[in-house]
C-alpha cells in the first residue's frame, strides 16, 4: 500500500504538512474525528497516500490499519493522485436511461484510459459517479466543478477541446 507502488513518489510541501498538523490538532479527542480529518486532508493533498494516512493515524491515536480500512471503504477517498481535470460521468439511473453509458464509453475511448484511471501526463482522470442530483439535465458529466448537461456523445469532442485535448 505504499504509494511508491502506484508509481508516484510522495512529496509534500511544508505548507501542506503544517495544514495537516492543524487539521489533526483541531479534531483531536472529538468522537468520530477520523472522517472529517480524512476529508480535509484530501482537500489539502488531493489524495490520501500512505504517508498522510500514517501521520493521521499517529496524530489521532488510531491504528493505521483502521485508517486504511476507512480510506478504502469510501469511494470519495483516493489512494492515488487524480488528474488536473477530474472528469466524472453520472451513471445514476436517470442519466443511464438517457444514455450516459455511451458518454462514458466515448470518454474512455477518447482519453485512452479506463474509469478510475488517470492519463499518463496527469492531466485527466475519469470516474463514474452516482447521481449528482442534476437529473433534470440528464445525462450529465462534470469536469472539476463545471457541470455539462443534456449531453450527446458528439458534444464530448468540443468539451475536451476546452481543456486542451
Amino acid at each position: 500500500m505504499s504509494s511508491k507502488k502506484a508509481g508516484v513518489l510522495f512529496q509534500d510541501t511544508p505548507e501542506q504538512k503544517q495544514k495537516l498538523e492543524e487539521i489533526i490538532a483541531s479534531h483531536k479527542g472529538q468522537p468520530g474525528a477520523l472522517m472529517p480529518v480524512l476529508q480535509q486532508a484530501q482537500d489539502v493533498y488531493g489524495y490520501l497516500p500512505y504517508e498522510v494516512q500514517a501521520t493521521i493515524a499517529e496524530g489521532l491515536d488510531i491504528p493505521l490499519e483502521e485508517v486504511y480500512g476507512v480510506v478504502t471503504f469510501y469511494a470519495q477517498f483516493s489512494l492515488y493522485p487524480k488528474g488536473q481535470y477530474k472528469i466524472s460521468v453520472c451513471l445514476g439511473t436517470a442519466c443511464y436511461v438517457k444514455g450516459s453509458g455511451d458518454i462514458y464509453d466515448k470518454l474512455q475511448q477518447k482519453l485512452g484510459i479506463k474509469g478510475g484511471e488517470c492519463t499518463p501526463d496527469g492531466k485527466f482522470s475519469l470516474d463514474a459517479c452516482r447521481c449528482i442530483g442534476a437529473c433534470g439535465l440528464a445525462p450529465v458529466m462534470t469536469v472539476n466543478d463545471e457541470v455539462y448537461g443534456k449531453l450527446l456523445p458528439d458534444d464530448i469532442d468540443d468539451i475536451l477541446a476546452k481543456y486542451g485535448v
Binding site: 480500512g69 442534476a134 439535465l137
Partner: protein, 595 residues
Amino acid sequence: MYRSHVLVCGGTGCSSSNSQQIIDALETEIAAAGLADEVKVVKTGCFGLCALGPIMIVYPEGSFYSEVKPSDVPEIVQEHLLKGRIVKRLLYKETVQENNVKSLNETNFYAKQHRVALRNCGVINPENIEEYIAVDGYQALGKVLTEMTPQQVIDTILASGLRGRGGAGFPTGRKWSFAAANQADQKYVCCNADEGDPGAFMDRSVLEGDPHVVLEAMAIAGYAIGASQGYIYVRAEYPIAVHRLQIAIKQAREYGLLGKDIFGTGFNFDIDLRLGAGAFVCGEETALMTSIEGHRGEPRPRPPFPAVKGLFQKPTILNNVETYANVPQIILKGADWFASMGTEKSKGTKVFALGGKIKNTGLVEVPMGTTLREIVEEIGGGIPNGKKFKAAQTGGPSGGCIPAEHLDVPIDYDNLIAIGSMMGSGGLIVMDEDTCMVDIAKFFLEFTVDESCGKCTPCRIGTKRLYEMLDKITRGEGTLEDLDKMEELCYYIKNNALCGLGQTAPNPVLSTLRYFRDEYVAHVVDKKCPAGVCKHLMQVTILTDKCKGCTLCARTCPVGAIEGSVKVPHVVNQAKCIKCGACIEKCKFGAIVKK
C-alpha cells in the same frame, strides 16, 4: 419596500445551467437601469420544474420565465422591470394563453401538486433566516417549548400518522416514543441526508431550498426525546446543500434558536454536520451511525435498535430529511390537518423526483394516493418523442419496475409493496420502449455489487452471482434454467441479508422477472433484445438498396469491420463488428441499421 421581486432558482439543477450568471447579470442591469431600490433579486431553492431551468419568476405579476440565458437579462430588465411589458417569448409555454397569462398553479405541472415539505422551496431565500422566520419559521419550536410537554409532541406526531419518508415507512411517532422511553445521560437526534438512491433529489432540494425547516424539526425531536445534540449526515456530493446548511446552522445559533437555553426555556440543543464520503450503504440507519462514529460504514445487526443503542451506544432517533420537513407544519396546523391528506394508512404528501424519459423532469409533491398515471401523464407531461410508456421505477436499487397495467394504482407505502416495488425515498424514473428491462436489472445489480459493504455473505456474494447471471443473459448465453435459479437466489438473499440494502437488492430482478418475463425469454430463447439495447444480441447491417458506397462508414469503423469499394454497397463483417454504432451515426443515407 421593493415594488418587484425577481426570484431565480439557485438549486443544483439550475445552478448547473448557470443561474448564478443570470443573477449577476440581473444585479448589474438593474443597477444600471437605476432600479436598485425598487427591484430585489432573490436566489431561492428549487421550483421543481428542473427540465426548463434556469427558471426565474417575477413578482407581483408571477411571470414564470424558463430556460433563461444571461443574454436575455437586459431584455427582461428593460422591457419587464422598467416598462412593465412581460417578455412573452421567454414565458413557460404552458402559462401562455391567447390573450392573457395563466397562473402557474393552473398549469398541469403544478395544478395537482400539494406542497407541504416543499412549501418554502422556491419561495424564500434559504441563506437568510429572517425569510424563514417570516413564513412562520421556528414558531413550531416556540410552541413546543412553551406550551407542550414532550409526551404531547410525540402524541401529536403519532396522531398525524406521519411515516418515515426515507423508504421503509416506519411510523415516526413510534420511533420517537421508543427513544423517549429509554433513560440515558445522552441521547442523539440524527438526520439522514445521505440521499444515495441514484435519480432521487428530494432531500437535496429541501436542504437547498429550506434548510431551517430541518434544523427546527430536529430541535423539536430533541425536545420530544430528551436529546441535546443532533447530527446531520449529508452527502458530500451535494456541495450547495452543505454550504446552505452551514450558513443555516450558524444563523440559528446567532439567533439563539440553536445552542443553550433556547427561547429562555432552559432547553439546550445543537446540531453538527457530518459529510458522507460516497458509500450508498451509509443511507442505512445503523451504517450511517457507524460512519458518524468514524468507522467503515458497515451496518450492525438489529436489535438492539437505535432507539435503545444507537450513535455512540446511546439512544438515538434517525429520520429522513423529508420526514423532518413535515414536522413543524404538523405542530402548527395540528395532527388532524395532516391526517386529512393521503390514504388510510399513508398520510400526508410525498415528494417525488421525476426523471428519465419524461417531459417535465423535476420535483413534484402530491398527496399520498395519487395515481402513477396522474404523475406521469398529467404532471409529468407524458413521454417525449411520441414513445410509449413501458415502466416506472420507484425505490431506486431497492425498488422495482411498475408496468403500464398498474398505472392506476393509488401510490402509498402498502400498495407499492403489494405490486413488487417500494416507496423508497421517492425517485421515480420513467422508462419507455427503448429501455431494456434486463439491462436495467443488470444496471441496478451492478450498482448493488459495487456498493455492497461486504459484511454479510448473502449480499456480498449473492448479488455478484445475480449480476453474473444477468450479464450472461444480456450476452445471449443464458438458459431458461438460469431464470429459475436467479429467482431462487433472489429469495435467498432477501431472507438472509443483514441490512435493508441487501434484503431489497434483488427487487429490481424480481419485479422485472414478474412483469417483463417475456423480455428475459426473448434474450434467452430468441437471442434477441426487443428494445435494441443489449449490444451482444444485435447485428449491424447495411441496407444494399440505400447504401451509395461513399466509404464513410468504412473509414469510421474503429475495428475495420466494414468492407467494400467505392460506389458499391458495403458489407459488415459480423465476426469483427463490435456493435459500437459509430457507422450508424456517420451514415448520411440512413443505410445502416442495428437490429
